[in-house]
């Protein structure tokens, strides 16, 4: 397979770090549960990308196998997460996480 060595690995690193940080910041500052889920997805995908990049760079297919695993897990997680969000919306008519503080102490 043709290895895209023309792009240096540092670019991937920086790009993925930025992507990950955006995800983290999104999780921290957003109040909408749906957006938080999307931010998490962003973080996961940044990791996936990095794994794929290193896999290509090191000629080791293990990284890509991991990516597939993570994608499957992420899909499952999103399915459940969205279902929960829908249920929350049905009962509280809001998906603002600051409203969801009944479970405490």
């Amino acid at each position: 397979m043709d290895i895209p060595t023309n792009i240096p690995i540092q670019y991937y690193l920086v790009f993925c770090s930025v992507l990950f940080s955006i995800g983290v910041i999104g999780v921290l500052i957003k109040r909408n549960a749906l957006v938080i889920l999307m931010s998490i997805e962003l973080m996961i995908n940044s990791i996936n990308l990095l794994l794929a990049a290193f896999s290509a760079y090191n000629n080791d297919p293990a990284g890509q196998i991991f990516v597939f695993f993570i994608m499957v897990v992420a899909a499952a997680e999103v399915a459940i997460g969205l279902a929960i969000v829908v249920l929350i919306y049905r009962t509280t008519h809001s998906i603002d996480i600051n409203v969801l503080n009944k479970l405490k102490w």
Binding site: N98, N101, W105
Partner: protein
């Protein structure tokens, strides 16, 4: 017949009697009980006699082993019996006097609903007493020692509906247990020192020990504590007067003739240890002498016929200990024997009086019974003369033997002991006069019902009276052409210690006669003094609350010893119990434990507020945590 077999049969019979009567005491008819109860003891007595006549056959192998009871490491306790003159003498006393008292009980307890139970307990007592005297090592002796204490407990509290009686029983058991702890520790020390608890091995090794060895002194003192408890000496004597709560035959058998003399027997048995411990001997002498005088002085003012006899028993036991303390082992055993005869007789006579008066025990409400109860009177008179020490009855010889030995030791002690014996004469004749002389002071109803006891009760009285009268012949001293036969019989037992006792300069016959004469004269003086004091002038008998001189008041109230014990022992322990439970236990230890638990709860209660329920906050903390971990990872 196989001799070993016979020896083991002796205690088996009473045990069987106990088991049969104990299992079926409500279904076995009274007639069967009346035969079974005394019958088992009679069988034991017959076999004891057989053993007595064959005792020389045991000289080679006195220890008969049945089986190994406890064996661990070097500790070996066989269930073994020792047959020698000393144990055979005790066997005869226990089974002989025991049998007579059992027969007497058939009449005395006839109307009692607990008839079967009574004989079951009595048989069990005889069994344990036989173990005590037969045991070939200290633990077997201890089985009997504690077992008779149990039976004493059961029989003192025989009429268990009355809590006063139950308290008396409990007191007896607990005071005995205090002594038992001493005995137990004594045994441990013996084992530590000699690596054995068997009499033969211990005594064999002890012979080689130096005189006054501190270990021996400790051993003998500890064992003596046991004897003090069992034989009711100062300071553990107060249970014996209370023990009179039991039926009168019980007082006769347990608290006069046999159990209370166990302490004397034990010391006589351990004679070698004791002669090696002069310090202990002094302690025994002082205790015995003090008890003899102290109890006698209390007896003078008692009005309960059984209490007088109880204090008299304590006092006489004191004499036996005095005898032991000067090395007069034979004298002590001789007095033990004659005392068993006349004191059992006195108690049974008292029982006969109580029986006739329908339960009355206060001598102030008696009097004039001489003509109504002739057999009781004559036998009681014989016993009184015997205990007062007037020749030629048995008490004179046995007490005199102790007194003579005491005189050789120190004339001062002799004088004190003589004072005690004249007190004895005084209170015993006071008892006799108030009970049988003058006119009847009870109610008319009692007057009507006055009757001599049935033959089943008087026959044992007569037999005991004969024994009390002629028991002195057992060990008649040389000046009366006697052969000192008991001394000769017991000599092998005391042979080893006789060597160790400092040889006494033989007393001249004239001194001996002089001492006897002096004692006799003062005793007779006391008899007449009592006569003038209580019969001649027919004085008014003061009721309980009457005003008396303070010294007399002190003696009437038994020197307030019971009250003293209550204040210095019972009350503080109960107080301590309260403090331990309510303060130490609940306020301190448990609060500490609960405090640890409460602290956990408190921490949880405080920390739980971190769980705000805010999802954003959780995520913030989570990410903060991740960053922190990464940082730490770099730093460390």
């Amino acid at each position: 017949m196989n001799l070993t077999f016979v020896v083991f049969l002796i205690p088996i019979f009473p045990l069987l009697g106990f088991l049969i009567l104990g299992m079926g005491f409500r279904s076995i008819p009274k007639k069967v009980t009346s035969i079974l109860g005394p019958g088992t003891v009679l069988l034991s007595f017959i076999f004891s006699l057989f053993t007595f006549f064959n005792v020389h056959n045991f000289a080679g192998s006195p220890t008969q082993t049945l089986f190994t009871w406890i064996h661990t490491g070097s500790l070996q306790i066989p269930f073994a019996f020792l047959i020698d003159p000393l144990s055979v003498l005790m066997l005869l006393i226990v089974t002989g006097v025991g049998f007579l008292i059992h027969v007497y009980s058939v009449g005395y307890m006839k109307e009692d609903p607990g008839y079967g139970r009574f004989f079951a307990y009595m048989n069990l007592f005889v069994f344990f007493m036989l173990l005590l005297v037969l045991g070939a090592n200290y633990p077997i002796m201890f089985i009997g020692w504690e077992g008779v204490g149990l039976c004493s407990y059961l029989l003192i509290g025989f009429w268990f509906k009355n809590h006063d009686y139950n308290n008396a029983a409990k007191k007896a058991f607990i005071m005995n247990r205090i002594g038992d702890l001493g005995f137990l520790l004594g045994m441990f020390l013996i084992f530590n020192t000699f690596s054995s608890l068997s009499f033969d091995q211990v005594f064999q090794q002890a012979k080689a020990m130096p005189m006054g060895d501190p270990t021996i002194i400790a051993i003998t003192l500890l064992l003596f504590i046991g004897a003090v408890g069992k034989s009711a000496q100062i300071p553990l004597y107060t249970w014996l007067p209370d023990a009179m709560a039991g039926p009168t035959p019980v007082s006769a058998l347990i608290h006069a003739a046999t159990m209370v003399t166990a302490g004397v027997y034990m010391i006589a048995r351990s004679n070698i240890l004791y002669v090696l411990a002069p310090t202990t001997m002094s302690v025994i002498g002082i205790t015995g002498l003090a008890t003899a005088l102290f109890a006698a002085s209390i007896a003078i003012f008692q009005n309960d016929i059984k209490k007088v006899l109880a204090y008299s028993t304590i006092s006489q036991l004191g004499y036996m200990f005095v005898g032991l303390s000067v090395g007069a082992f034979t004298g002590a055993m001789f007095h033990l024997t004659t005392h068993a005869f006349f004191k059992a007789l006195l108690f049974l006579g008292a029982g006969s009086v109580i029986h006739a008066l329908g339960g009355e025990q206060d001598i102030r409400n008696m009097g004039g019974l001489r003509s109504k109860l002739p057999k009781t009177y004559w036998t009681f008179l014989i016993a009184t003369i015997a205990i007062a020490g007037i020749p030629p009855l048995s008490g004179f010889f046995s007490k005199d033997e102790i007194l003579l030995h005491l005189f050789e030791h120190s004339s001062l002690l002799w004088i004190i002991a003589v004072v005690g014996s004249l007190m004895t004469a005084f209170y015993m004749f006071r008892l006799l006069y108030l009970t049988f002389f003058r006119s009847f002071r009870g109610t008319d109803e009692q007057m009507h019902h006055l009757h001599e006891s049935p033959r089943v009760m008087t026959t044992p009285l007569i037999i005991l009276a004969i024994l009390a009268a002629f028991g002195g012949l057992l060990n008649l001293p040389e000046i009366f052409n006697g052969g000192n036969s008991l001394s000769g019989f017991l000599a092998p037992v005391f042979a080893d210690s006789a060597v160790l006792v400092t040889p006494e300069t033989p007393m001249s016959l004239s001194t001996e006669l002089l001492l006897m004469g002096i004692t006799l004269i003062v005793v007779l003086g006391m008899v007449f003094l009592a006569y003038f004091r209580f019969v001649k002038n027919e004085p008014e008998l003061l009721p309980d609350g009457a005003k008396r001189p303070s010294l007399v008041q002190l003696m009437i109230n038994k020197y307030y010893i019971d009250e003293l014990y209550d204040y210095i022992i019972s009350k503080p322990i109960l107080w301590l119990s309260k403090v331990f439970h309510e303060v130490v236990e609940i306020r301190f230890i448990d609060r500490l434990v609960n405090g640890v638990g409460n602290m956990v709860v408190w921490t949880g209660n405080t920390v739980r507020f971190i769980q705000t329920g805010n999802v954003g906050f959780y995520m913030f903390i989570m990410i903060l945590g991740i960053i922190l971990i990464l940082f730490l990872n770099i730093l460390i």
